[in-house]
């Protein structure tokens, strides 16, 4: 298959189209707007549904509506917009209908800026909205991976009747890379006896997230938790790079993971036994595998484009059994590989490192 050069946001959009996305609802926000623009053209050309909503609140609730009808549906946004979507996501998860949400993160908090950031890690992996739930969170480090994970997101959303998200950042959204776009057969989707398609020849269907009375809502919560356990058991994904003989392992995802790969390579070239552990599913987080990896290394260096959010999961995975260092940049600042390499060197030879 021939490789073509694509921009991240457009690659994700095209992947969604190939995955059989039937409806897209969105609202412009930098740095994901090209995704919406791409959909505005291609979805219409294909006779599918594209609608620019009046807000992210509306967009996610349009997604909710289309999901209730059983359509393959998605939206995309960036951090402030993702915050606005939390209400709808909580409702969608409780209603157990499938949907895909792309978050091309930018610097925060507040209006922040439009530079790449991973500041939404907590919001994305720990629930984000009200109530007990998590969404599936997939973190691409390359555009090819962004394509593959977007396609996977639709299948996972279907499989678990929940929300699957892509945690990307402005870097992934904006860069151009050669990618392969797979030709996909029309998706084989699970039966949807629950969908709101009109009560013809069957009892009426109700989709609600309201369950009055403690025991009723508890039952729903227990079922949602059961689904989450299934997701944790089946869907953990990660990538490992140069772990053999590694003493210092960088833990990083997405754009940070991409930078870390370069850094690890350079460290090895300088004789420092470094490796990379790159979680691909941020929820479910690869706790067990990371714990396993950590058993044979001396140090972990968590590198994120935030104040240290995944850091907490790394500490949880390893129970702080080994020194865990953190290097992070906030506010949309992306460090150079040299800056990260300096951190590795500091760990490798503490006396040489700057304080």
């Amino acid at each position: 298959m021939a490789k073509i050069l694509m921009k991240g946001n457009e690659a994700i959009a095209e992947a969604a189209i190939r995955a059989g996305c039937e409806a897209y609802f969105g609202y412009p926000i930098t740095p994901q707007t090209e995704l919406l623009e791409y959909m505005s053209r291609r979805m219409v050309e294909l006779g599918r549904v594209f609608l620019q909503a009046e807000s992210e609140l509306s967009a996610i609730n349009m997604v909710y509506g289309a999901a209730c009808a059983g359509a393959r549906v998605m939206t995309s946004t960036s951090s402030p917009g993702f915050s606005l979507m939390q209400e709808g996501i909580s409702y969608i998860v409780c209603s157990e209908v499938p949907a895909v949400v792309i978050n091309v993160m930018r610097g925060g908090p507040g209006l922040g800026n439009i530079q790449p950031s991973q500041g939404d890690y907590f919001q994305m992996t720990k629930g984000g909205g009200h109530g007990d739930y998590n969404v599936i969170v997939l973190a691409p480090a390359t555009l090819q991976e962004a394509i593959d994970l977007t396609i996977l997101a639709f299948d996972l959303a279907d499989k678990y009747r929940s929300v699957a998200t892509i945690i990307a950042d402005g870097m992934i959204g904006q860069i151009m890379e050669p990618v392969e776009l797979p030709e996909i057969e029309p998706p084989k989707r699970p039966e949807q006896p629950w969908a709101l398609t009109g009560a013809k020849g069957r009892e009426k269907n109700i989709i609600t997230s309201l369950y009055l009375g403690g025991p009723n809502l508890e039952k729903v919560n227990l079922r949602l938790q059961e689904t989450l356990e299934e997701i944790k058991a089946n869907e953990v994904r990660y990538a490992e790079y140069m772990l053999e003989g590694a003493e210092i392992v960088v833990v990083a995802y997405g754009t940070a993971g991409r930078i870390a790969q370069t850094v690890v390579q350079e460290a090895r070239e300088e004789g420092i036994p470094a490796g990379l552990f790159r979680p691909i599913t941020m929820f479910p987080f690869p706790y067990d595998r990371l714990d396993e990896v950590a058993k044979s290394v001396e140090h972990l260096l968590v590198f994120e484009l935030n104040a240290g959010q995944m850091l907490e999961d790394v500490r949880l995975a390893t129970r702080d059994r080994l020194p865990i260092h953190f290097y992070g940049k906030m506010g949309g600042v992306v460090p150079s590989p040299a800056e990260v390499l300096a951190q590795i060197k500091k760990i490798a030879s503490p006396q040489q490192g700057e304080r």
């Binding site: 409806a23 509306s58 349009m62 509506g65 709101l196 398609t197 309201l210």
Partner: protein, 253 residues
């Protein structure tokens, strides 16, 4: 003497007894919608969206596919449902807090887009479900639990006239205001609901029927007094009438 039922429960309603307070006009309006759905023969292709508010459990009372929306978001949800299955009939059922406060953006833009859905808007000038607080449609001077001295428009702003507002949108095909205080007004409301659904069936765009409704419990009136209050106080601030009826809808009559 053999007798036939001249009036019975419509098929589009379930047997469930509603949770609404005695004399609450939600029940009348539910029935009117169900009668219209029966008469148009669209029960099996109609999908309703319930709001947050007193009608949050409307899905239990209609014998139709139904979704329950987040507060104010019913028009957005309806948009999603309708866009992916344009052959279905989709309607939202919303109260004044849901539609005219927290969901103002959603309703205005659904109307403005000419979204081919129908909204039944229940205006009873108060928040019923939460126990009688000021609604965007609470009348000037009206006492509620959050305007204990009466709604002072200098402090709390003015009531919103929704039918008039929505009628200004280019996408709206049919926007009217009715009330359900006596058999004649109820018949008129039903005709409007029917026309709204017919407009949707004919793909003419957005339709909204605002219905002045009563809340005896939170107004502190008997159900009969409450209907009088609708006629005497609400209908003067919110005049009944046809605010927008495009020619194509007129020809449906």
């Amino acid at each position: 003497m053999e007798k036939k039922a001249g009036f019975a429960k419509p098929e589009a309603l379930t047997d469930a007894l509603t949770h609404y307070c005695p004399g609450c006009t939600h029940g009348i309006i539910h029935r009117l919608i169900a009668e219209v759905i029966d008469e148009l023969g669209i029960r099996e292709i109609t999908i309703g969206i319930a709001p947050v508010g007193c009608a949050v459990l409307a899905y239990n009372y209609f014998n139709l596919d139904f979704a329950e929306a987040a507060h104010g978001r019913a028009p957005a949800m309806a948009t999603g449902l309708k866009r992916v299955q344009p052959d279905k009939v989709v309607f939202t059922y919303q109260g004044d807090g849901d539609l005219a406060a927290i969901g103002t953006a959603e309703i205005v833009h659904a109307a403005s887009r000419g979204e081919n859905i129908t909204t039944i808007f229940i205006n009873n000038a108060i928040y019923g479900m939460t126990g009688g607080q000021m609604a965007p449609t609470t009348l000037p001077g009206q006492v509620t639990t959050s305007t204990p001295f009466g709604r002072d428009v200098k402090l709390a702003g003015h009531p919103l006239r929704v039918a008039e507002l929505i009628a200004t949108t280019s996408g709206a095909a049919y926007v009217v205001r009715r009330m359900v205080t006596k058999p004649a007004t109820i018949a008129s409301a039903k005709k409007a609901i029917k026309l709204a659904f017919q407009a949707q069936r004919a793909e003419l765009g957005f339709s909204l029927v605002e219905i002045l409704s009563s809340c005896p419990t939170n107004w502190g009136l008997s159900p009969l007094e409450a209907l009088e209050w609708v006629e005497e106080n609400m209908a003067s601030y919110y005049p009944l009438g046809d605010y927008k009826v495009i020619d194509e809808v007129k020809s449906l009559k």
